[in-house]
Amino acid sequence: MGKLLEVKDLAVSFQTYFGEVEAVRGVSFHVDRGETVALVGESGCGKSVTANSIMQLLPMPPAFYKNGQILFEGEDIVKKSDKEMQKIRGNKISMIFQDPMTSLNPTMKIGKQIVEGILKHQKLSKDEAKKKAIEMLELVSVPQPEKRINQYPHEFSGGMRQRVMIALAMVSNPELLIADEPTTALDVTVQAQILDLMKQIQDKLGTAIILITHDLGVVADISDRVIVMYAGKFMEEGTTDEIFKNPKHPYTRKLLGSVPRLDMDRSESLHSIEGTPPDLYRPPKGCPFFDRCDEAMIICKDYMPEKEYHTDSHYSYCWLNHPMAKAASEGSEI
């Protein structure tokens, strides 16, 4: 399967009163058809900005593309006009958001909101569109869809609203679905339902998913590949197994260590990461994780590490993984 989306050296900044905030600082990745890629990181690390820039959803100004390309099916999204974007948004790329309470229009019946999306992108009559809306609600397992399309969002529970959001996103059978913290606002039992639904839909329709989340449990559940992001940069990327079994970057290791596991002894203390992420008004010259890292070296402060490949699918940015660093640490043991 070919590359559906390819992001090359993307940098996005915000121009503010206090200066430029470098939210995303040169990231490259790709998404294949039908796969799920998870983007993980703490709040403010730039994961949502990355996703929104793929949809051109950032308000410009203050945001602007500083550098890079976003190739979707070979065409550069950065260069597209608003009109051209409208044909892609909701049609070829769709998005679902964290908060299902605020992303639906409270004054419009559910059915009308879905029909609106269908009519925008497909040449169907109103009746056909309505039929299609019912089909979509069936797809996402909303019970009694004929009755439900005549109800308003407040008559739906949180989980049901997120199902409606997914139905809305899937109306045009998009190639790519961007899910920005889709289950963060939901309870665990409902979260399990929604994740299951997303997997089912992906199996049925072959949609590629970019999943943005900070919950490593959710990542382990549904993603094929994982990208770990910190302070606007990628720290590590690999298949889900590689990242969880063999993390190469100290930040990934710390992140995995800071969540309590169900099989862990209660007398152990959690590995907290001391300090806070750096200020992106003046991003650090070297590795952004430098001042919170236990294994930091002098070089980390001033020089950004180079990309080191561990396998074809697994790379990290850390000086510890540099061949020279290995030689030095072996030397020091003698």
Partner: protein, 324 residues
């Protein structure tokens, strides 16, 4: 076991929602909290766990029931007596952004409980107490004159903790103290809470929906569903041998950060959502989503009883499930 620090007996809290309807947020809950332990309370949103936390320290007036602290039912105390008792109860809130007054410098936020209870002789003593508290939670004297907006979420939660500690309380209700924080910061705050508990012999009621975190921090855990306590046991027992069908489903829904386990585990999928707590019927609250439900579950509220030593369950089928 030692004498309980707090005994909650059949506490009910109903809210009138108009048109003659009642929202039964907490509907007859009993449990004990022992000195020095962390009691975890879990459940999905709307199950009444926060209402329990607030009712047992009498931030809400209960509809019925009693909470015994130091041999006295605190709901019977006068305003004046209650104020004395309140020194021993404190609360840490979920939202570190909304629970600190944005117009007050940190020194006054932490000093306010001291002012109210007149816990110092002169200003020097007040100042040194506030600095002492700041240092306890990992902040320093230089932070005293700053305002809340100058701090990150994790630091704000530390200020909230310092304020809760100001009067040397015995019992602290932590209402989702970490759910607004990033994972790396969550671990910092949890480690701090654990350390303070060891140093000062504090007792916590830890309310959360993050089940793996609750297991990690709590000695005993209660599971709530729609205003009822469904199951209560030590945290090892509850997580290893859950009896109530709801607890079983809840535990199997936790995503585990390990792809191999995640792929191979069997999940109990719950259908539907939590029903409305407004005028619920007199049946097992979980009946519509339960895979073991029978006619009896629709007619009677199951009794909350001890099925194993120190393991309480409210389920008609508990004995059958226990036998396997």
């Amino acid at each position: 076991m030692a004498e309980p620090l707090i005994s909650v007996r059949n506490v009910k809290k109903y809210f009138d929602v108009g048109k003659g309807k009642t929202l039964k947020a907490v509907d007859g809950i009993s449990f004990d909290i022992y000195p020095g332990e962390t009691f975890g309370l879990v459940g999905e949103s709307g199950c009444g766990k926060s209402t329990v936390g607030r009712t047992i320290i009498r931030l809400y007036e209960p509809t019925d029931g009693e909470t015994i602290f130091n041999g006295k039912n605190i709901y019977k105390l006068s305003r004046h007596e209650m104020q004395e008792v309140r020194r021993d109860f404190q609360m840490i809130f979920q939202d570190p952004y909304a629970s600190l007054n944005p117009r007050m410098p940190v020194i006054d936020i932490i000093g306010e409980p001291l002012d109210i209870h007149k816990a110092y002789k002169n200003h020097k003593e007040r100042y040194s107490r506030v600095i002492e508290l700041l240092e306890l939670v990992g902040l320093s004297e230089e932070h005293a004159q700053r305002f809340p907006h100058e701090f990150s979420g994790g630091q704000r939660q530390r200020i909230g903790i310092a304020r809760a500690l100001a009067l040397n309380p015995k019992f602290i209700v932590c209402d989702e103290p970490i759910s607004a924080l990033d994972v790396s910061i969550q671990a910092q705050v949890v480690n701090l809470l654990k350390k303070l508990q060891k140093d000062f012999g504090l007792t916590y009621l830890f309310i959360a929906h993050d089940l793996s975190m609750v297991r990690y921090i709590s000695d005993r855990v209660g599971v709530m569903y729609l205003g009822h306590m469904m199951e209560l046991a030590t945290s090892e027992e509850l997580y290893n041998n859950p009896i109530h069908p709801y607890t079983q489903a809840l535990l199997s829904a936790i995503p585990i950060p390990d792809p191999e386990i995640q792929r191979n585990r069997h999940r109990i999928m719950l259908e539907g959502d939590v029903p409305s707590p407004i005028d619920p019927e007199d049946n097992c609250r979980f009946v519509d989503r339960c895979r073991y439900a029978t006619e009896r579950c629709r007619k009677e509220i199951p009794e909350y009883r001890e099925v194993k030593k120190n393991h309480f369950v409210a389920c008609h089928k508990a004995d059958e499930i226990l036998k396997g």
